[in-house]
Symmetry: C2
């Protein structure tokens, strides 16, 4: 039912768009950079251009289907937007990303914004580090 999401976003249902949406929805790694997606599609035998991947991701972001993050590393990563905000733990050794949500932090953010007369439109919080035991949290991400 990805195609309905595309239509809802006012985007024509094309092969590249469906393939990219499918990858974002079904890849074991929810956080992908443009080139990852490009290579995965090439490997899957698709005839796609990297420029198209960037164009589609940018359109998806504008349509709210996808969120663009700027983790360290000089490139953006894209993640399917499931409608629920969350923040990230990023393992700088393995690159593994785990999502989390904390109500207390969200509340404090709002409070801090209010104290500063600031209206938040979005926010990111990234904890960089490493998992002490990389076997435990495995189910997450």
């Amino acid at each position: 039912m990805e195609s309905s999401d595309l239509k809802k976003a006012g985007l024509k249902v094309t092969l590249p768009r469906m393939k990219i949406l499918d990858l974002l929805a079904n890849s074991p790694d929810r956080h992908l950079k443009a080139e990852d997606i490009y290579k995965m599609l090439l490997d899957a035998g698709e005839d796609i251009a990297l420029a198209t991947v960037y164009r589609v991701l940018t359109q998806f972001e504008a349509a709210g289907l996808v969120t663009r993050h700027h983790f360290d590393g000089g490139h953006a990563v894209f993640e399917l937007n499931d409608g629920e905000h969350h923040d990230h733990l990023v393992d700088i050794r393995s690159g593994r990303v785990v999502e989390f949500y904390d109500e207390i932090i969200e509340q404090r953010q709002k409070e801090i914004a209010r104290e500063h007369g600031f209206t938040i439109t979005e926010h990111t919080m990234i904890l960089y580090g490493h998992f002490d035991d990389d076997k435990e949290d495995a189910g997450r991400d």
Copy 2:
């Protein structure tokens, strides 16, 4: 006393390094991108190369003198490291940046990391939005 900071970091005290450190310490905007610094130095009549600015900033970062942030926008911004961690409010209309620190959030971050068996080496939290009244908070940043 910037030169002592340089020596302490094991870096020769050279003109470009002192000029850049000086800019970072005295610019009204604490958060500068490499090209900002480069242009400011050119305007000040310095004969410096953009490559040098990048090299120096990278060395400063390695030495802990400076922190590199990846706000939205496809470029890094650098900030003098005053030793105290803080997070950022970024006005997406004016580009104005205000720093803040919240003990409750810091505590929750540690707790969340612990719950995930994760060791934090660093973290960033950025609230994007806009100041409701841009006259009020002016003293900050």
